[in-house]
Amino acid sequence: MQQNNTILIKGGRVISPKNRLNGVIDVLIANGTIEKTGKALNIAADRVVDAKGMYVVPGLIDMHCHFREPGFEEKETIQTGAQAAAAGGVTTVAVMPNTNPVVDNETVVKFIMDRARDAAIRVLPIGAISHNQEGAVLSEIGLMRRAGIVAVSEDGKSVMDSGLMKNAMRYCTMDDTLIISHCEDPGLSKGGVMNEGRISSMLGFKGIPKIAEEIMVARDIMIARDTGARIHIAHVSTKGAVELIRAAKKDKMRITAETAPHYFTLTDDIIVNFNPNHKMNPPLRNKEDVEAIIKALADGTIDAIATDHAPHTIDDKDMEFDQTPNGVVGLETSVGVTLTHLVHKKKITIERMVELMSVNPAAILKIDHGQIAQGKRADITIIDPSKPWTVDSKKFRSLGKNTPFEGMKLRGKAVVTIVNGNVVYEE
């Protein structure tokens, strides 16, 4: 990924909240590094990018993705997932360990990192908490950490044995390894295919109640308080979960949280159409939850927007609603959906969006990204905030076409994606 050419990004509005940059500033990239920032730079470069009217932001970081490799390459590979990320303006992703084999030892970590070397963007592995995600014994957390994982997670389920979860958290305090917690009590969610509520009652579907999520958020907060571990709550979908996290933050706990674009835009009312591309876990909730999540994104309770990009083949999703696997893709729509539904509607500022999609995920994962400053690696996303477009999964670079936003009219899109000083996507 080495690049010796120089790039000058001219006339764009640089928004880098971490070092308080916000204004029309030029950025010069050389040797994969941000060489210089300043007003009206008059320097010769191999390439000049005219960014007038655009936002120039630190490369976006999506800390919750599924790239399916190894084991499910028909759904996505590290290469195709990285292409999708680049097209969505994302320069770094963290990928979940529910592959086949599960990422529970350093060999699999090294395999993913090896594949990631040729990818368009940075792909960082997350390890499983327990061996084969079976919830019985701990995986080789320390060795995986040394091999390059940025966090551990049992994503897809909770570690139900509270004793094992406590041991995992205590063990992780040694290296200050982040635990990303998927919160779901299977006793409450088993057999559920959508949110438990008015619509599930109406359609006769078994529901996944909100308390299935909230009980485990509460439990993991309690274990984290007891052990001092650093935890991150994945894909927050309910108002109750938001309130628990807010209270824990008030207590100065080391807790962070993320949500996904579908949780701040869509509700379970849409399930009456039985569209499998609206089926994910946790499921789409209600209006009050959407409103609480938007408020939490604005007030700092939720730290990050992550897509939970979960590609499936067309065949996987083209069948009976209750039989289809959970999950939707998100990498290529997150910028457009966030701009259209949060920034343009003045629910959050553009600065806050950059925090949620770059600065904070970098801080949570403890990686040296998330700001445009001299000497930093040149991961930069240029966004056209007003470009109108319509979501069309046929145009996705991801192998997964399972978007819940098909046909949605959006305003704003990533138009240039730069990783390590290389333009990896432009339109």
């Binding site: 438990e196 509520g197 008015r198 619509i199 599930s200 009652s201 109406m202 359609l203 006769g204 579907f205 529901g207 159409n273 039985f274 065949d315 083209d318 069948m319 009976e320 609603f321 209750d322 039989q323």
Partner: protein, 313 residues
């Protein structure tokens, strides 16, 4: 007169006028069924596929008879299990069948939403014969026909449905249909067998108290209690269920509804949700429901099928 709906997926959003038209048309077919030659030519040249992915005896036979009495050509396809288990997708199944030039599909499936999904996969007219716990619209229509025949009008009629409402597509279709028709519908059962969010069913009252549900009811419908629900922790025992929600002559008399029409969509667990003396008693309409099922399904097939231009002679 014709229906506003193009398929019969459920009764949830079917307007009152459509329900009334189906019931009125079914009246005409009741008369046909009382003749010596119980056959009319209205579906001649039309092919109807009965696509049953779940075991069913009476509903499948009822549809098949209805199709034959309308002179339609019928084909039966039965297969238990989902796409995943079968190894062929539902879409492939329906497209293969459609390629053989068929006009209508009657479908039963264990997954809610399958009839709707089929409308997206094929151009055939789709009739829902039961999808998951969602809807079973022809059952509710035949129930309404049976109620209307006994009491004249559905508006204001107190109907009590007792049993496992949560898992019942019959209950859901009746809740939508009877609410649309303005009936005074009560549903009753143990709290764990009632949908948690009943407010979605506008115009339906729910109670756990059987005596309240039965009080002055003109129609009492018992639903089958699936014995395996007990093992999933939804209620303590069959014995407790029978004692609290079983329909007996004494309970009916106590609630002043000894003259209520007794209904059950079958199959019956005798002595559990309903005693044999009530199920076989003078007010029982359980077999009338079955007879009306054929007439109702004839009406639905006739009104949705290409036979629309012919009259029910």
């Amino acid at each position: 007169m014709s229906l506003t709906i193009k398929h019969l997926l459920g009764l949830r959003s079917v307007p009152k006028e459509d329900i009334t038209l189906i019931l009125d048309t079914a009246k005409g077919f009741q008369e046909v069924l009382s003749r010596d030659i119980k056959k009319v030519p209205t579906l001649r040249g039309q092919t109807v596929v009965n696509l049953f992915f779940e075991n069913s005896t009476r509903t499948r036979i009822s549809f098949e008879l209805a199709e034959k009495r309308l002179s339609g050509d019928t084909v039966n396809f039965s297969s238990a299990g989902s796409s995943v288990k079968k190894g062929e997708t539902l879409k492939d199944t329906i497209r293969n069948i459609e390629a053989m030039k068929i006009d209508m599909v009657v479908v039963r499936h264990q997954s809610a939403g399958v009839p709707k999904y089929l409308t997206e996969c094929t151009n055939a007219v789709i009739i829902n014969a039961g999808d998951g716990s969602n809807e079973h619209p022809t059952q509710a229509l035949l129930d309404m026909l049976t109620m209307r025949d006994r009491w004249g009008a559905l508006k204001g009629l107190k109907v009590a449905i007792v049993g496992d409402i949560l898992h019942s597509r019959v209950a859901r279709s009746n809740m939508w249909g009877l609410a649309t028709m303005g009936a005074d519908l009560w549903v009753c059962g143990p709290e764990t067998l009632i949908p948690q969010y009943m407010q979605e069913f506008k115009g339906v009252t729910y109670t756990n108290n059987l005596d309240k549900a039965l009080k002055n009811a003109k129609v009492v419908m018992a639903l089958r209690i699936q014995l395996e629900r007990q093992s999933t922790g939804l209620f303590p025992s069959i014995n407790e269920y029978r004692a609290r929600w079983g329909i007996t002559a004494q309970r009916l008399e106590k609630s002043g509804c000894s003259d209520a029409l007794i209904m059950h969509p079958g199959p019956i667990n005798r002595g559990i949700e309903i005693t044999t003396d009530v199920a076989d008693g003078p007010n029982s309409a359980i077999l009338t429901q079955v007879t009306n099922g054929v007439a109702t399904r004839m009406a639905v097939l006739y009104l949705l099928g290409g036979g629309r231009e012919h009259a029910a002679e």
